[in-house]
């Protein structure tokens, strides 16, 4: 089979055709710090300047070899656009400081009524993201761009002073308020997603980071998590790529049958073989080389460990297509550069369709 471009490869996998090889898709989030180090930029300057952010993001394809671009690379964009304040003070190694929310837009529950959905073309950091997408789409039309929106609950924890502990308590005390808060965050994500698509994003990626198996029940997931994501997915006309953090197994059915994303990406705690057998014909599966727990191969292993684990994932996931090789979580700054390269190499070495 002739070699495909990354976008041809990804489109083939989503449309149930056979690509030339397994696409390797990276949720390249805090690992962009490796690029910032190379470029000598701080987090704050890169995230707030289109030219600098573009230089960092284009390396996902030109240096790391991913079949995609992924941005924005931090989780705080929507919360900041809704009025929370982000300060670059979170230590993340090698002298770098990531952004963290230090002042919240909603300090009293009644503040929710004052929130307005931001205009992505006018918000500082959203507009930086849009400009970078435009530049990437122009320079690299052969590479699909995944625009990232936070899951509504995650944005809500950046907006409400109570953060997740407060949200969990209000899920019992005042569930209607929580649903209204999540809906406002979903509306924000829709506005941002649509703007990113107009700028050139080929897909919208999202994550559920706080609503995990140890935190809430499947019934609570159905009630609180599904509506916002379903609304986002229905509002966009591009594939929705959904990552569920930690063990997605209890929620997999709900995700596939209620939210109905084009792709489900999941943690290494999910049995890929189980997922492939049960859902392989319904949705593209993306997984799941270990990245986030102590001992994870991308973080603590060697390139040979990564190749070995990735090979197993490919052997299980690739038959019949509809499979992406990914890390089981975001590619973060503690993932060793040589291991990220090994992940990409694995797709080329073991993932060719004959």
């Amino acid at each position: 089979m002739a070699a495909m471009t990354p976008i041809e490869r990804v489109v083939a996998s989503i449309t149930k055709k056979t690509p030339d090889r397994v696409p390797v898709i990276l949720y390249f989030q805090s690992a962009v710090q490796h690029d910032l180090k190379e470029l000598d930029y701080t987090w704050e300057e890169a995230l707030n300047h289109p030219r600098k952010l573009f230089q960092a993001i284009e390396r996902q394809y030109t240096y790391w070899g991913a079949d995609n671009f992924f941005l924005p690379v931090d989780f705080r964009v929507e919360g900041e656009a809704l009025g929370s304040k982000v300060t670059y003070k979170l230590k993340c190694g090698e002298g770098y400081r990531m952004g963290v929310v230090t002042e919240w837009a909603v300090n009293d529950k009644s503040d929710l009524d004052k929130l307005t959905v931001p205009d992505p073309t006018k918000d500082k950091r959203m507009s930086v993201t849009l400009e970078v997408i435009r530049r990437l789409a122009k320079k690299y039309p052969q590479v699909p761009i995944a625009g990232f929106v936070n899951g509504p609950p995650d944005t809500a924890s950046d907006v409400y002073v109570g953060r997740y502990p407060g949200i969990f308590v209000e899920m019992i005390n005042d569930p209607d308020w929580v649903l209204r808060l999540f809906d406002k965050c979903a509306e924000t994500s829709i506005a941002f997603a649509k703007a990113m698509i107009e700028a050139g994003a080929a897909a919208i990626a999202t994550v559920e980071g706080g609503m995990i198996d140890e935190a809430i029940s499947p019934d609570q997931y159905l009630k609180f998590v599904v509506p916002g994501h379903k609304k986002i997915r229905e509002a966009i006309n591009v594939p929705y790529v959904y990552h569920q953090c930690e063990n997605a197994t209890p929620f997999f059915d709900i995700i596939v049958n209620e939210i109905k994303p084009a792709v489900v990406a999941f943690h290494d705690s999910v049995d890929l073989k189980w997922a492939k057998e049960k859902y392989g014909d319904k949705v593209v599966l993306a997984g799941n080389v270990s990245a986030s727990k102590a001992g994870a191969s991308l973080m603590d292993g060697t390139p040979e460990d990564v190749l070995r684990e990735a090979k197993k994932c490919i052997e299980i996931g690739m038959p019949g297509g509809s499979f992406w090789l990914t890390a089981g979580c975001e590619v973060h700054h503690a993932c060793k550069p040589e291991n990220i390269k090994a992940l990409v190499q694995a797709a080329k070495e073991y993932g060719v369709y004959k």
Partner: protein, 213 residues
């Protein structure tokens, strides 16, 4: 009468009825029931029920946190009427989330269980600088230092906190217990901490084993 009140407190805590838990705790004080009796015969059993429900997936974090709030409504009131040192007389614990991390639900749940079981917890909060832990350990001389993180990148802060205690000659006097999503027994050994607890029950069991409780 005390049995009825204890039973009502257990129900209030398990069901997360915060105001009621506080009111009932006040009633025990009004009835001259020793506050420590209420802690041992109502609050501790209540949290054991709540923990059991979480283990059996009958409760999840929302219910756990509400029950924890109800527990503290009662406990904080009772504590004010106890002789100094009676609440938390088992051992002193410094507990916090490591530098760089702001996720504190797990830490708060561990603290709840430990305080319910007689440990005195000095809560350092979240995103606590390494130097603050070192200073607090030097100042308070706790038997235990409990460090929590939910994020992979901040595991390094955990390692550095242990190293800092070593450098300041404080390591020998305190048992370091670690926990959190990305943590493992292997990591615990790697950074030379004393124990990794997968949940608050394991943490409690370890602490009890160390003090012979």
């Amino acid at each position: 009468m005390s049995e009825e009140l204890f039973k009502a407190i257990v129900e209030a805590v398990v069901l997360g009825k915060i105001a009621e838990a506080g009111n009932l705790a006040q009633k025990t004080l009004d009835a001259n029931i020793p506050p420590m009796d209420t802690v041992e015969q109502a609050l501790i059993p209540a949290m054991e029920i709540v923990s059991g429900k979480y283990d059996r997936k009958e409760y999840y974090l929302p219910q756990m946190l509400i029950s924890s709030d109800a527990f503290y409504k009662a406990f904080d009131l009772l504590k004010t009427k106890m002789p100094t040192g009676a609440a938390g007389g088992k051992a002193k614990v410094v507990i916090g989330v490591v530098e760089g991390d702001v996720h504190d639900i797990g830490k708060n749940l561990v603290k709840t269980v430990l305080e319910a079981n007689g440990y005195r917890c000095i809560d350092m909060g979240r995103d606590v600088p390494i130097e603050d832990y070192v200073e607090k350990v030097a100042e308070e001389k706790p038997q235990f230092l409990l460090l929590s993180t939910l994020m992979t990148p901040t595991m390094l802060s955990m390692k550095r906190t242990v190293e800092a205690l070593e450098e300041e000659n404080l390591r020998g006097g305190v048992k370091v217990v670690i926990g959190g999503g990305p943590i493992s027994t292997d990591f615990c050994k790697k950074i030379k901490a004393d124990f990794y607890g997968d949940n608050e029950k394991e943490g409690l069991k370890y602490l009890n084993s160390q003090i012979g409780a």
